[in-house]
């Protein structure tokens, strides 16, 4: 601001509202509030379940509540059987590892949202990315080609496969005006079956060495292709963390710069906020919809690539009946972040933290994994209410008031459109 004032007196006209009234501040507060409400409600459920269930004591309910909030810092139990908390390198490292694909699928959904599209096709794009990544990573012999190059090729293959898969709903939307949600759901299942069929036919990729691993594709580490740890294993020894999280963060920053600073990002955002105005202004809205979906697909493909190139994850290839949850979880990640690419980093980490907390509850208390899943689901669900909370904060929504409408912006007189809608409401 100070810089602007120095440049020209004209620019002083463009004042920013005070810190608390800024859109961004409100968004952050709203997300934090909804997280808090979610966790509080999760705790209530824990207590309720204990109250209704004789086999769960109130003591263990209290432990469960503490784990909902601080599970990530749980270090197990002490000699007396009480819960202990502290820095748990394994939990935090695992959290970052699991956050990696969530951040990327979250970005995938967020980018599409910004262009006015609901990318519910992230699971399919993730699967296509998985297949492409694994195929490239496992079938190029590492004796002949440097592993780093294979890694790069596999990563790119994942991104490209995701992009191609994502662009199909984009094309259908822009050419035939088919709703992208429907097209995405269709392509999800097509992807699930295609991938199963693909691995069914490629026995050389399956893990035959280990018994009990029937149905799994080899880890990429079997070909020596593994994401570098980038010294993160020194900070979080014993965990699954690797450099993927740094790559995901870097991609999030790049997406942020792309969306907010470039002409093309501006175009996409304009198409998303008002497709008609974009068209009027000479923007090729149809092309932009395809590109936006392709970018979204590429990000979901990257999520798959980083997840499986970690070298410590295996792919269960018979996916035709299930879709990867990490794809769908991109939706709450994006919602919680209000589609801001930088905020996606934090909401992605938060989601995976919940995951770890859930594991801790399952391991340390008498709550079983299903209950844990329900509690986590409630927290996720309420987190997605951040939009409503934001409207409550800025006074656009009044839940417990008498029937009254407030003009959207206080400072200016209501514009005719609002007046019209007011009149229409009187019907």
């Amino acid at each position: 601001m100070a810089k602007h004032n120095a440049v020209s007196p004209l620019l002083q006209k463009s004042t920013r509202p005070s810190f608390l009234k800024r859109e961004g501040t409100r968004t952050v507060i709203a997300s934090l509030v909804s997280i808090a409400i979610g966790m509080a409600l999760g705790s209530v459920i824990i207590v309720l379940v204990a109250a209704l269930n004789d086999s769960i004591t109130m003591k263990s309910a209290w432990e469960g509540v503490r784990l909902v909030f601080f599970g990530i810092f749980s270090t197990g139990r002490n000699a007396l059987g009480g819960l202990t908390f502290g820095f748990n390198a394994v939990s935090i490292g695992d959290m970052l590892f699991r956050a990696t694909p969530l951040i990327l699928t979250g970005l995938s959904v967020a980018v599409a949202f910004k262009t006015g599209l609901f990318n519910i096709g992230a699971p399919g794009q993730f699967l296509m990315g998985t297949a492409a990544t694994l195929y490239v990573a496992l079938s190029i012999p590492s004796e002949k080609v440097p592993a780093a190059l294979i890694w790069l090729l596999a990563f790119l293959a994942g991104a490209v496969a995701g992009a191609l898969w994502g662009s199909i709903p984009g094309l259908l939307k822009s050419l035939l005006n088919i709703n992208e949600v429907i097209a995405c759901i269709m392509t999800n299942w097509i992807a699930a079956n295609l991938v199963t069929w693909f691995f069914d036919a490629h026995n050389e990729l399956k893990n035959a060495a280990e018994s009990g691993k029937i149905g799994y594709v080899c880890k990429t580490s079997s070909n020596g292709v593994v994401t570098s740890k980038l010294f993160l294993d020194k900070i979080f020894p014993g965990s699954q963390v690797n450099g993927g999280i740094l790559i995901a963060i870097l991609i999030a920053v790049l997406v942020y710069i792309f969306m907010t600073k470039t002409t093309f990002g501006f175009e996409l955002k304009t198409v998303g906020s008002n497709r008609y105005a974009a068209k009027y202004a000479g923007i090729n809205d149809k092309r932009d919809i395809v590109i936006s979906m392709a970018i979204a697909g590429a990000l979901a493909g990257c999520a798959a690539a980083l997840y499986y190139l970690s070298g410590n994850t295996e792919f269960y290839w018979s996916t035709y009946q299930t879709l990867p949850a990490v794809g769908f979880n991109g939706i709450p990640v994006a919602l919680l972040a209000a589609n801001n690419p930088l905020a996606v980093i934090f909401s992605g980490v938060f989601m995976s933290m919940l995951n770890i907390s859930g594991l801790q509850i399952k391991n340390l208390t008498t709550y079983n994994e299903y209950l844990t899943d329900i509690i986590i689901a409630i927290i996720v669900y309420l987190s997605a209410f951040s939009l409503m909370i934001r409207m409550l904060i800025s006074g656009q929504l009044k839940l417990f008031h008498k029937k009254q409408k407030t003009p959207p912006q206080a400072a200016s007189p209501p514009d005719p459109a609002d007046e019209e809608s007011g009149k229409e409401a009187s019907a």
Partner: protein, 517 residues
């Protein structure tokens, strides 16, 4: 009789955060009178009516029905008190018949079965009594807008409403239909109905209203007898300063042809036929050519075809010597076309984005505003601030204001600033003053005339007859997708234009010709 008030709204105050929409407003409606409510946009007319309808609860003041204080908590209360309203945009179901629409929500039933015959008898009696001739068996989609309005009026009468509110009822009518409506209103008043007539058209107030209440910026300015005031006095009350009602302009000096349109056909989006049929005309530099007509006669499609928003099914468009018939929107715009769109919220602005971003909506790819694909935000800011200053666009936070939070007039000013500053030889302005207050209209009219005098060609589409008559140098009337007449505003009258607009008259064919029943 002097104080026989059916509805009194006394000292009504309604405050929204940061704005007093109604500040101590008193409106007293006598039985059997036509009472006009006059005010610019944002004067508080809608808020006041919403209070009367129970949509808002007033912060202060009381409402009395026949001297007794009443509380109107929701629209159902208002209906129970006999208050009915004809909305600017009709609330009719297109595929239902006239009769069905009238009885909808107030059906006579016996044992749960509809008694349509009784209802029909009642409706026919009402239509006879008040001279509202409609075909009760016709479907709404098949009848004219004027007829639809009659259906809305019958709806109120069928519900035995005593207080009838007409919200900008003449906006969609031809001059002939307006006269007819005025007669109906007089008849209703004679029968003892009380009419509240919301408008900003002074001529109509002078013609039909007994008294008029004027609001300005949420404040009560006064209630006067129309017999005691002149149009000029009313407009001064409304705006707060003397207003130039006529557009001041010198005769046009048309130059070379800027755009040539030959046999243009544009398909309709909804139906199989063409919405624009074989339309040909030229627009010259230094003239304001106006396309006039009743809403929905192909004007929108014509402009969409010209600007590229809709695809064209036949014909040829030449702009500045280049053929641009099937060029993309951007190519057409680059070839020399600026466009003030009809719907500023749909096409004109991205409401969720900042004002400065809207100012460069078409230009952000120009070298001036970007380097290697990165937007130069400081340049955008500088440019927007310059436009805001030159065109007096007012907003809360200057260039960073979200477009949505600006008032309608300033949103339009922003669009006009953007389009004029692109300095294209042809400016297409579609209803550039719709929904704006008198002050803003004055400003925009003056700008358009100034641009004309600079030698720009202006193609104006307007539904406001006064605007057409005062602003244009040449008038083309569109009826059912065709241009049926070319008129000289200095020689024609509103009545003659009305005949063309309703299809009763057309150039070359002087015999009467009724399009729609």
């Amino acid at each position: 009789m002097e104080n026989d008030y059916v509805i009194e709204m006394l000292h009504i105050t309604k405050e929204f955060p940061g704005i007093k929409a109604n500040d101590d407003i008193t409106l007293q409606l006598r039985r059997g009178e036509i009472h006009a409510l006059l005010g610019e946009n944002g004067a508080g007319k809608s808020t006041l009516m919403s209070v009367l309808f129970g949509l808002y609860q007033p912060d202060g003041g009381v409402i009395k029905k026949e001297g007794k204080e009443v509380r109107i908590k929701d629209p159902n209360d208002a209906t129970a008190l006999g208050i009915g309203m004809v909305h600017q945009h009709f609330k009719l179901i297109d595929v239902f018949t006239v009769l069905d629409n009238i009885i909808l929500g107030a059906e006579t039933t016996k044992l749960g079965f509809l008694q349509k015959k009784d209802a029909k008898k009642q409706v026919l009696a009402l239509s006879e009594k008040y001279g509202l001739k409609v075909d009760v068996n016709a479907k709404i989609e098949d009848i004219t807008v004027g007829m639809q309005q009659k259906v809305e009026i019958l709806k109120m009468l069928y519900r035995k409403n005593e207080i009838l509110i007409f919200d900008e009822p003449t906006a969609v009518l031809t001059p002939q239909e307006i006269d007819e409506l005025m007669d109906v209103m007089r008849g209703l008043a004679r029968e003892g109905k009380s009419i509240l007539f919301i408008t900003h058209k002074l001529n109509e107030i002078m013609a039909v209203a007994d008294r008029v209440t004027v609001l300005r910026k949420g404040k009560f300015i006064g209630t006067v007898n129309t017999a005691d005031v002149t149009k000029e006095e009313l407009s001064t009350m409304m705006v707060g300063r003397p207003v130039q009602l006529e557009v001041e302009k010198t005769p046009a000096k048309p130059g070379k042809t800027v755009m040539k349109v030959e046999n243009l056909c544009v398909p309709s989006r909804l139906y199989k036929h063409d919405a624009v049929k074989n339309v040909s005309f030229d627009v010259h530099a230094g003239e304001i050519l106006c396309i006039s007509g009743i809403d929905g006669n192909g004007q929108t499609e014509l402009i969409n075809g010209l600007t590229g928003l809709d695809r064209i099914s036949g014909g040829k468009i030449t702009l500045c010597g280049r053929e641009i018939t099937h060029a993309s929107i951007r190519k057409k715009s680059d070839a020399g076309l600026a466009h003030i769109p009809e719907d500023r919220h749909k096409h004109g602005l991205v409401l969720g984005e900042r004002l400065e971003e809207n100012m460069v909506l078409q230009r952000f790819k120009e070298k001036r505003f970007q380097r290697c694909g990165f937007i130069k935000f400081d340049e955008v800011r500088k440019y927007a601030d310059d436009l805001i200053e030159r065109f007096d666009v007012r907003s809360g936070q200057g260039a960073v204001t979200t477009a949505r939070s600006m008032s309608g007039g300033n949103q339009q000013k922003a669009i006009i600033a953007r389009e004029l500053d692109r300095e294209k030889p042809l400016l297409i302005a579609v209803q550039p003053t719709r929904g704006l207050d008198v002050g803003a209209i004055e400003n925009i009219h003056a700008r358009l005339v100034a641009e004309r005098d600079k030698g720009r060609a202006i193609l104006l589409v307007s539904l406001e007859l006064e605007e057409v008559m005062s602003l244009s140098d040449r008038i083309l009337v569109m009826y059912e997708g065709e241009i049926v007449g070319e008129l000289d505003p200095k020689q024609t009258t509103v009545e003659e234009m009305g005949l063309y607009m309703s299809g009763a008259k057309r150039d070359g064919k002087e015999e009467t010709h009724h399009g729609k029943a």
